[in-house]
């Protein structure tokens, strides 16, 4: 089976998160690999099924088009996934690229996402243990 490029869209209720000063209840993840074995679509505990060599591309989207959100960092075990920040050429809109270096098999490899929201000075991250993960066993 060849390596695939999988997209992960992170939806954020920026106004809700800023109003409550927490990301709890304000973040949902969706990936393009539902038919390949990912689970937890549309929740914060998305589990993306991957294989060694796959590429993951994370982008963030705000519920309100006027509100600003960007992914500041993705914290994941580098033994499994190496992440780098990229920018769409000619813009300041970023994405995060992950390269799967090791198949997680049946293990769950959790990761956290740090966000820049609006004009808030500090980044906000997801509160553990309700975080997304990658796992092995991609079938598609």
């Amino acid at each position: 089976m060849s390596a695939s490029l999988l997209r992960i869209m992170v939806v954020v209720d920026v106004v809700g998160a800023l109003a409550t000063d927490t990301l709890d209840g304000s973040v949902w993840l969706v990936d393009s690999n539902k038919t390949g074995g990912s689970t937890g679509e549309g929740t914060r505990q998305l589990k993306t099924a991957v294989r060694k060599g796959d590429q993951l591309v994370w982008t963030a989207m705000s519920l309100e088009c006027e509100a600003y959100v960007a992914i500041e960092a993705i914290a994941i075990d580098p033994a499994y996934c190496e992440v780098t920040r990229g920018v769409y050429p000619g813009t300041d809109i970023s994405y995060w690229l992950g390269r799967i270096k090791k198949d997680p098999g049946k293990s769950m490899v959790p990761y956290n996402i740090l966000f820049k929201l609006g004009s808030r000075a500090g980044a906000m991250s997801l509160s553990v243990p309700d975080v997304p993960a990658i796992t092995g066993g991609r079938t598609d």
């Binding site: 997209r7 939806v11 990936d31 539902k34 982008t59 050429p89 000619g90 809109i93």
Partner: protein
């Protein structure tokens, strides 16, 4: 002032095209979570519309719904809608600059070699044709998921091509037929969706759960070995959303209270 509610539909286009239905392949969101919306992140969204009056009993103004659809594998909606044209233009400028540089060195002894090398490096973007429901064809430059044009002549792995975003083409169903929502397509200075978006005004005087139907056009990417240019075939599908109109008082999202002035912070 009318309360504005944004309803976002994220479509797993590939899964929907495989299944031939949007059921189980859409993820709905709105920004009325604090008001009681349920089903966020599922295809069973029930948007909370707190209806007819403010907390002080005064008549509330109408609600307005704004709809936006995008695909999991589409480029981010925050990019300019003409981004593919912008990327193509940058590539053309680079090609012209390289050609001009070679022309400036035409008197050199190895000019022919330089010209051959430069010409060999020229990369044109791969065009595709979008077949509109009207039957007309529109040219479209293929971009990958990093916003880079796909090179001409390549047979790209479908998973490496950014999907054309889904397009809402209409809103119908119970809530429209019963006069609960009045949908229309509006022009917008924002080029998301080509400068058009769907909006609806809600008659909030009828508390009940009302359903509506979104008509969504997906595009299937088709690579035909006999036809060098890939094409996008339109696939119209529908999905359903719901509005829960209640007689609870409308609340100001900033103050939690009724209509009136917003709180003014103390000067720093």
């Amino acid at each position: 002032m009318a309360q504005q509610l944004g309803i976002i539909v994220i479509v797993d286009v590939e899964a929907a095209l495989r299944a031939g239905t949007l059921e189980g392949c859409t993820y709905f969101f709105d920004n009325a979570g604090p008001f009681g919306t349920s089903g966020m992140g599922t295809d069973k969204l029930v948007s909370a519309i707190n209806g007819t009056h403010w907390q002080d009993g005064s008549q509330a103004s109408e609600h307005v719904l704004n709809f936006l659809a995008t695909g999991v594998t589409s480029l981010p909606i925050t990019l300019p809608r003409d981004y593919q044209l912008h990327r193509t233009r940058l590539q053309e400028i680079a090609t012209l600059a390289a050609t001009r540089a070679v022309a400036g060195n035409a008197a050199k002894s190895n000019a022919a070699s330089d010209i051959r090398t430069t010409l060999a490096r020229i990369r044109l973007p791969q065009l595709s044709s979008i077949k509109l429901p009207s039957g007309h064809q529109v040219e479209h430059v293929l971009l990958n998921h990093f916003g880079e044009p796909v090179s001409e002549g390549a047979t790209p792995d479908t998973s490496h091509v950014a999907q054309l975003p889904p397009v809402i083409t209409g809103i119908s169903g119970e809530a429209v037929e019963k006069g609960i929502i009045y949908p229309a397509q509006y022009g917008s200075p924002d080029l998301v969706n080509g400068g058009w978006y769907w909006s609806a005004t809600v008659a909030t005087a009828s508390p009940k759960v009302w359903s509506y139907t979104l008509h969504i056009l997906l595009y299937r990417f088709v690579q035909d070995p006999a036809n060098r240019e890939p094409r996008w075939e339109p696939v119209p599908l529908t999905c359903e959303g719901r509005l829960s109109i209640s007689s609870k008082p409308m609340r100001n999202g900033f103050t939690g209270g009724g209509t009136g002035f917003l709180p003014i912070g103390m000067p720093h």
